[in-house]
């Protein structure tokens, strides 16, 4: 018997005898023999050390960006990782518990989510936030479907700025086509931003359920959010902001300040490892008036039978286990432990700390811009006058993918090829910096760029 199974051979015999069965086969007599096998085509189990060695070998076969100058971003960023985060996440009371259906014995999880919801509201400038969604891409499609419901299914058009992360846009298409939604993409302008007038024209009148922009956008550039909100509302559409670099909230106001109806996105930046792409953390915030159309779990404050403050899951009448085919989403869970990570991270870094962290990103980014503009050779900022937070598009002597490979050979993870998923912008490298980027890494990057000329 494997040590992760609770009963040994003696126990099994005793229990079989107590329940009046002769053999193990009798336990499975309800399964038709035609679908059964004697064993599945898999090796037998290994001991702990053997498994550990196999997994360590696979981990070592990856080149860790922690050991190289790395400027990879494009939706996944390398920010500070206080040791407190994993210490809290390693507590079995958090990681081995389930969805807090029984509030009397889940106040820890519930209060942490309530704090998460509050933090997301504060950062986005919105009135209500849910307990989290899978990731940034799925948060955006949930926002689109939400807008469709809020408009009572009367507006089938979805207007997306091309500067929304192309991977997010692809995920939107996966869901939108079967749902009968028409997705229109508005190309980026010459300054790497989307033109509000073009958005307005694409939305038509009362035809679009939403206009969605990302800010800072895929190219790292800050969009003109007040203008976007105005054109969305003029077109009778919901204004949706998606954010892929949540650290930007340290300096930039969330869409709530400009009248956006939804602010959603990816919060991996808040203490969640890049982890080869997941699990990450989607967030979703909207206005109080639309809360009943919101997807996902929600924690509310209430009292217990003695009148003391307590928390529980609420508005579950929106959810699939009650509403079945009429639910606001088919999502059954949230991204609980990742939401906890973000909560611990935000509370550890603190309000002033988040502002300082974002300021450090900005200072590092502006420093890099100056260095690239000052350097001799073929490297250029693609959008030298557009405002950016911590990511910028640079062009060089060749295609982005090839440049990334050549720089990787020199030991520098210089950035993500800007046309990994296509795009109307120049083919180059998206270079991301954070508060963790050091001057010696930047010097290694500049040296690498100089050698690839």
């Amino acid at each position: 018997m494997h040590p992760w199974i609770g009963a040994g051979d003696d126990d099994r015999r005793r229990i079989l005898s107590e329940i009046g069965l002769g053999s193990t086969d009798d336990l499975f007599s309800a399964i038709p023999p035609a679908v059964c096998v004697d064993r599945v085509p898999l090796a037998n189990g290994l001991d702990e050390q053997a498994v550990r060695l196999e997994l360590v070998a696979m981990a070592l076969a990856n080149l860790s960006p922690d050991c190289r100058p790395s400027f990879l971003g494009a939706g996944v960023y390398r920010h500070v990782q206080p040791s407190v985060i994993d210490a809290v996440l390693s507590r079995a009371e958090f990681f081995t518990s389930y969805t807090p259906y029984q509030p009397e014995i889940a106040q820890g999880t519930l209060q942490a989510i309530y704090e998460f919801q509050t933090l997301i509201c504060q950062l986005t400038g919105m009135e209500v936030a849910n307990a989290s969604l899978y990731d940034g891409a799925t948060a955006l499609i949930e926002a689109v479907l939400f807008a469709h419901r809020v408009r009572r299914g009367k507006a089938q058009r979805v207007v997306l700025a091309e500067t929304v992360h192309p991977m997010y846009r692809r995920v939107v298409r996966t869901y939108a086509d079967p749902a009968g939604l028409e997705v229109l993409m508005v190309p980026a302008g010459g300054d790497g931003r989307v033109d509000p007038t073009t958005l307005r024209a694409a939305a038509g009148d009362e035809s679009a359920c939403c206009i969605a922009v990302q800010s800072p956008n895929f190219l790292g550039i800050v969009e003109d959010l007040p203008a976007v909100a105005n054109v969305a509302h003029a077109a009778g559409a919901l204004a949706v902001q998606v954010v892929a670099e949540a650290a930007s909230f340290g300096l930039l106001a969330g869409g709530g300040a400009f009248g956006f109806d939804v602010v959603c996105g990816e919060a991996q930046s808040f203490g969640i490892p890049s982890g080869f792409g997941g699990p990450h953390l989607g967030f979703f915030a909207c206005r109080n008036k639309d809360v009943r159309q919101m997807p996902g779990r929600l924690v509310g404050e209430t009292v217990d039978s003695r009148g003391d403050r307590a928390y529980c899951l609420t508005l579950s009448t929106r959810e699939q286990h009650i509403r079945r085919a009429k639910a606001t989403s088919n999502i059954c869970t949230n991204q609980g432990l990742m939401a906890l990570a973000a909560t611990v991270w935000l509370e550890t870094v603190g309000g002033h700390g988040l502002r300082d962290l974002a300021a450090a990103c900005l200072a590092r980014s502006e420093d890099l811009k100056r260095r690239i503009e000052a350097a001799a050779g073929p490297w250029r900022l693609a959008f030298p006058t557009s405002p950016t937070f911590n990511e910028l598009l640079i062009t060089g002597p060749g295609e982005g993918a090839e440049l990334a490979r050549r720089l990787a050979d020199l030991g520098v993870l210089a950035g993500v090829p800007s046309r990994t998923w296509g795009g109307s912008w120049p083919d180059g490298l998206l270079v991301a910096v954070t508060e963790r980027t050091t001057t010696s890494e930047v010097e290694a990057l500049m040296d690498g760029l100089g050698r690839v000329s």
Partner: protein
């Protein structure tokens, strides 16, 4: 048993009420010139308020979450017999391997040559899940079971469209989990309910009638939410296939037969697998899970992108394929969850998986045997990994399933599932899973028996439970009526 704390833990926002500047986390020092944000960013877009929470020291954060953690029940504390949730042990080896730096720090957009280990892990887990289910292909992308359901139904939709066969309905048994009809609706189908027969399995005559050329797929949970195996599964699949439909199998209950029976032989075309159930990845207080979908040959061309391909010893990525339904989410799935699942599967192996399902089924039958004298069993077919009782005998004393659940908290156990199956009124759906010692299962049974006695002798005690938890019974109705879902500064 959890106790009421002597000092209630305030919200973090209520700490440091004077808003004193306290040392928080020390950021790396900045050795480039500071930049006034107003000089490089449009001033009207800048934040004017202080973002996030008050400054607190590191130890305040640690104490805060330590105290909060003390209010939670968890798998490590005792039996967590939530039916259809498979709350099994979360092996510590999983946690160790998922924290290897080569995995945690890997960036999903590194060149493929630099992440061969990660791509190999995905490839290995894909092959293992195919072997365990007897299916032709798999995607590891979906973030959870419901997300996997959606991926599966979208693939079915794509396959039917590819052969010019547009259909409008998806059949869902009335015993199904609520995610099934929700998924069908989100994939653009009308969910049509199939009634259960008197024995709790699919009513074949009803299915025969409903299975028209409008039906794209039938969604079946095997074993179903009553813990019963569909005895006519092969006939059902044949009927559906003969009429041009496909079979979606909800694999939430794979723990009942893993290592012993193959969905591939049952006629499944798509089935999601909850790695956080059968394959021991932690539930995390409600996620992150992972819901890979295994598929039949008919659906392989439509699997989501990106896909990992093996050429000799080199692993590469396919980003585009017009036949694919497209990506379901960002990147490759909940990768660090996949690491845990592969760790578990390689640890158990073919032999361990058989032992796993054996003890899971054995324990459910032990519970059934011990409680059958005290609780009503609405369907008496042979139980697999879970058993569903109801509260018929207790309602005579005006004690309901929720009361029994709350009283169980006083005995130090997490209650069973009660929200479904909807076809059982007052359900108590019990799934012990295989991890705990037999004595733990027996102690749970003893608690259930004691509560059955209390329901007769002192029903008030049960109705007013819980008595010994960090908070007493929580007013969930008030939470919905007086909606308050965030703290605001005015709360102070």
């Amino acid at each position: 048993m959890k106790r009421r704390p002597i000092r209630p833990e305030p919200l973090i926002f209520e700490r440091n009420p004077a808003r004193a500047r306290r040392p928080g986390f020390r950021l790396p020092s900045v050795d480039v010139p500071a930049v006034d944000p107003r000089t490089v960013l449009p001033p009207n877009l800048l934040r004017t308020d202080e973002p996030g929470c008050p400054d607190v020291s590191e130890m305040e954060v640690v104490q805060h979450f330590h105290r909060l953690s003390q209010l939670n029940y968890a798998v490590d504390e005792g039996l967590y017999p939530l039916g259809s949730c498979t709350m099994k042990y979360n092996p510590r080896l999983n946690e160790e391997t998922a924290r290897l730096q080569g995995f945690t720090s890997a960036h999903p957009l590194q060149p493929a040559a630099q992440v061969q280990g990660a791509l190999r892990l995905i490839w290995e887990l894909e092959r293992a899940l195919e072997a365990i289910t007897g299916m032709a292909g798999v995607t590891l992308q979906p973030a959870a079971g419901a997300h996997g359901e959606l991926a599966g139904i979208l693939m079915i939709r794509k396959a039917l469209e590819a052969r010019g066969d547009v259909r409008e309905e998806v059949l869902v048994p009335d015993s199904a989990h609520g995610t099934n009809p929700a998924t069908a609706a989100f994939a653009g189908y009308r969910a049509v309910e199939v009634p259960s027969g008197d024995d709790g399995t699919v009513d074949m005559a009803a299915l025969e009638e409903l299975m028209t050329d409008r039906v794209a797929a039938v969604m079946l949970t095997v074993p179903n939410t009553l813990g019963l195996f569909e005895p006519r599964i092969v006939d059902i699949a044949r009927l559906v296939h003969d009429r041009g439909g496909l079979i979606y199998m909800d694999g939430a209950n794979l723990n009942a037969f893993a290592g012993r029976a193959l969905p591939g032989l049952m006629g499944a075309d798509a089935m999601h697998i909850n790695l956080h159930k059968t394959f021991s990845t932690p539930h995390g207080g409600g996620g992150p899970g992972a819901g890979p979908v295994v598929v039949s040959k008919a659906l392989v061309p439509h699997l989501p992108v990106p896909r990992v391909v093996r050429n000799g010893d080199i692993f590469t990525l396919v980003q585009d394929d017009p036949a694919s339904i497209g990506p379901m989410r960002g990147f490759f799935g909940s990768f660090l969850i996949l690491v845990r699942a592969l760790t578990y599967i390689w640890s158990l192996g073919a032999d361990g998986l058989r032992e796993m399902s054996e003890v899971a089924v054995l324990y459910a039958n032990l519970v059934r045997h011990r409680l059958a004298g005290a609780y009503h069993l609405p369907y008496d077919g042979p139980s697999l990994h879970e058993v569903v009782f109801d509260d018929t005998r207790q309602t005579r004393h005006d004690v309901h399933n929720t009361d029994i659940a709350k009283r169980l908290l006083d005995y130090g156990f997490h209650p069973p599932t009660m929200s479904f199956p909807l076809i059982v009124h007052g359900a108590l759906m019990i799934e012990p899973a295989e991890s705990v010692a037999p004595e733990e299962v027996e102690a749970f049974c003893n608690a259930m028996l004691a509560i059955a006695r209390e329901a007769e002798e002192s029903p008030d005690l049960v109705r007013s439970a819980p008595h010994d938890t960090p908070v007493s019974r929580v007013d969930e109705v008030r939470a919905a009526r007086k909606l308050k879902v965030r703290w605001t500064p005015e709360d102070e």
